[in-house]
């Protein structure tokens, strides 16, 4: 059969439109169709088969089918082709079959191809894993054996040195052998670490730990590295009274490595360690450890490759270039992010940010409560510290200085009143507030509120306050009574703490002060040994002959003052236990001086027992975790 020219043009137009085809190509398809109908050539079938093979997708096949359907429907609807209907139908069936079968064949082929590729990839992957595993096992085995042998070598070198037999040049050779062995041992340890991390065998032991104590350990370890260096080290640490969940030892490894690098590449200037609390929720705290130096810095290219293994940009400094690679991997393993910025000649800053779970619902820790403080007193001793302490323990604190605002606040409470309302005011005003409290207690929302009068002085008669304190109320009154179950847990925990054998050294020139301190500590922790020194020299003598877990030193003493005593203690054992300053003189500058001197913290006189016991319990926790 032969197509009429106008019908042929219509078909060409349809084909061009559907496949977005150039008109010349569409005309060629029209010619093929005509020749196929005339039985002259099978070119149309081959072309479509090839296109389908080339395109290899079901949508294209469907489009071809639809196009053919439209074309044949168009031709069958024309009267001119009535006599050719049977021929057209036969041709259409043939065509449909060809597209359908071809599509199925290609689908099958694609599936088989995919399966083959998958099998090949799987085999390659298995082979690679086997090779890697064998390599790792080999490296791990060799490194382990090397380390064992190196330990023996270092041990024998130390023995020879101790005997002091070698002199002059021989002694120098021995020193060199010792240095080389140390370098080799560090390299082997690094390789072992990398192998462990890569093999997923780097063990992370998660426990709750005090962040500030972990930082103190890092700073302690730095002392030797800073020796003979013209570098000023400074640590700025946000107040972290919290315990967080993590592997403290791994954190120390990361921070120490970054600090050691900073010191290594800084010939003069500074190295700063900043520990910042980025954000905090009820469950977690995001912390950034920042190590900044004024050292030689890195180029953009070096910065890009700094975490790659064996990246060494300065061959004049010792090391093999594995430290940052390990630290980077370790940081990832701990769920943190390690970044760096640097400029040649100006220095580098490494930042390690990590979010850690806070210790919560621990027995003794209290659910979040709201405390409202009203004080029109100019200054109440220790008030700021009390507010700070409560906030750090998750309390919501509202403070008022204006009586009008405070009363308006109380009278406009609708849903929930504060758990505790504490008032510190003048004698006459207490009586007015007592009347107000009488009224508030008739309102349902104040049913569970405790009203506290603080700093009342000796003579004031108040009927409606729940608790009255002549001085500052003890911190314990803000803590909610635990449930029976919690109490049991607290008792179990407290029992362990009570039984911990702790060695404490307390230094104060006033014997009574020492005895009182001893009495309070011994009552709470009967298993502790508390040695008392009434002066600096006596303290140094005691410290030399015994290992203490915690030291308390009064700052103002005749003879050696607290700062001088600390300075001397630092030189004795190398490692200083947590050492706290005791003083009745609290100025803002005192905190700075104490921190700069290297004290772990400051305890004010009169001693707030909650804070004293919290300090001791930190040390107990640390000791029990070791």
């Amino acid at each position: 059969m032969k197509l009429h020219e106008k019908d042929k043009q219509q078909i060409i137009k349809n084909v061009a439109g559907r496949f977005n085809m150039k008109i010349a190509k569409a005309r060629m398809m029209g010619d093929y169709l005509e020749k196929a109908l005339l039985g002259e050539t099978d070119e149309l079938f081959y072309t479509i088969k090839y296109s389908m093979y080339f395109q290899n997708n079901t949508k294209y096949s469907m489009d071809v089918l639809k196009c053919m359907l439209e074309t044949f429907s168009f031709l069958l609807s024309k009267e001119e082709y009535t006599s050719d209907r049977e021929e057209l139908k036969a041709f259409f069936y043939l065509f449909f079959e060809m597209i359908f079968i071809q599509r199925c064949r290609y689908a099958k082929m694609a599936e088989e191809r995919e399966s083959i590729v998958h099998t090949i990839l799987q085999r390659v992957s298995e082979r690679l894993n086997q090779t890697l595993e064998t390599q790792q096992l080999m490296i791990s085995g060799i490194s382990h054996d090397m380390r064992t042998s190196l330990n023996a070598i270092i041990g024998y070198i130390t023995l020879i040195k101790e005997k002091n037999i070698l002199k002059g040049e021989d002694r120098t050779f021995l020193d060199k052998a010792e240095n080389a062995s140390s370098v080799l041992k560090n390299l082997v340890t690094s390789i072992l670490d990398i192998t462990k991390i890569d093999a997923g065998q780097m063990e992370i032991k998660e426990k709750f730990f005090w962040i500030d104590q972990m930082i103190l350990k890092c700073i302690d370890n730095l002392t030797i590295r800073l020796k003979n260096k013209n570098v000023v080290f400074k640590a700025e640490v946000d107040f972290f009274p919290k315990k967080v969940l993590g592997d403290a030892q791994r954190f120390i490894e990361i921070i120490m490595n970054l600090l050691s690098n900073a010191i290594k590449y800084t010939d003069h200037g500074f190295v700063h360690l900043k520990v910042r609390k980025i954000q905090e929720s009820e469950e977690s705290v995001e912390i950034r450890f920042e190590i900044e130096d004024s050292g030689m810095g890195m180029t953009a290219e070096e910065l890009k490759n700094m975490f790659a293994p064996f990246s060494r940009f300065r061959t004049d400094r010792e090391g093999v270039g594995l430290g940052l690679h390990i630290v980077h991997k370790l940081a990832q393993k701990l769920g943190g992010n390690l970044t760096a910025k640097s400029k040649v000649g100006e220095g580098s800053t490494f930042s390690f940010t990590v979010t850690l779970q806070k210790e919560s619902n621990e027995p003794g820790k209290i659910e979040k409560r709201t405390i409202c403080f009203f004080t029109d007193q100019k200054e109440i001793y220790g008030f700021d510290r009390k507010i700070h302490f409560l906030k750090e323990h998750g309390y919501k604190i509202i403070t008022f200085n204006s009586p009008e605002k405070f009363i308006t606040y109380l009278l406009t409470q609708k849903d929930k009143a504060p758990d505790i309302i504490s008032i510190a005011t003048s004698h006459n005003d207490y009586i007015k507030f007592d009347a107000l409290i009488n009224y508030l207690k008739t309102l349902e929302i104040f049913d569970k509120t405790t009203f506290v009068a603080e700093e009342t002085g000796q003579k004031v008669s108040l009927e409606h306050f729940d608790k009255i304190y002549h001085y500052f109320a003890p911190i314990s009154i803000y803590f909610k009574s635990p449930t029976v179950l919690e109490s049991k847990k607290i008792m179990e925990k407290t029992d362990i703490k009570k039984r911990t054998n702790l060695h404490i050294l307390a230094v104060d020139d006033m014997e009574t002060n020492l005895e009182i301190l001893k009495m309070f500590i011994a009552k709470k922790y009967p298993f502790t040994t508390i040695d008392l020194a009434s002066g600096g020299y006596e303290a140094i003598g005691m410290y030399k002959s015994k290992t203490y877990d915690i030291v308390f030193i009064d700052l103002k003493m005749p003879g050696l003052n607290g700062f001088e005593v600390l300075k001397k203690l630092k030189t004795i054992h190398g490692h200083l236990p947590p050492t706290y300053a005791l003083t009745a003189d609290i100025y803002k500058s005192t905190y700075d001086e104490v921190a700069q001197a290297g004290f772990s913290g400051l305890l004010e006189k009169p001693l707030q027992l909650d804070i004293l016991f919290e300090t001791i319990e930190r040390v107990i926790d640390e000791k029990n975790n070791q």
Binding site: I516, L517, A584
Partner: protein, 105 residues
């Protein structure tokens, strides 16, 4: 001086008792405290009667007394001493110290 010591003794006794310490522990401690108080107050009295009063030394003894009084629970007197220590150079301050600690009118 006697008044200061006896007042502090009474406060200290109640203060330590409130913490649940037994009498056999409190009594020797309070005795020791009285000795310390006596010693420091005497030292202060001597300093105040010298021809040229040494503010630094007065301050130092006041500091020791403040800490001791705080520890013995006499917070009111300790805080008054603390206030005085912030401006110890005036004649009025020295008189205030005498009035507070030595019952001098």
């Amino acid at each position: 001086m006697k008044k200061t010591i006896s007042e502090t003794e009474a406060i200290a006794y109640n203060y330590l008792k409130a913490f649940g310490f037994p009498e056999e522990q409190i009594t020797p401690l309070v005795d020791q405290a009285k000795k310390d108080l006596q010693e420091n107050l005497t030292r202060l009295e001597t300093l105040l009667h010298e021809d040229k009063v040494s503010i630094d030394e007065v301050n130092s003894v006041l500091h020791a007394l403040k800490g001791l009084l705080f520890n013995l629970g006499n917070h009111a007197l300790a805080e008054k001493l603390n206030e005085i220590r912030s401006h110890p150079e005036s004649e009025a301050t020295l008189e205030e110290i005498s009035r507070l600690l030595f019952d001098v009118e």
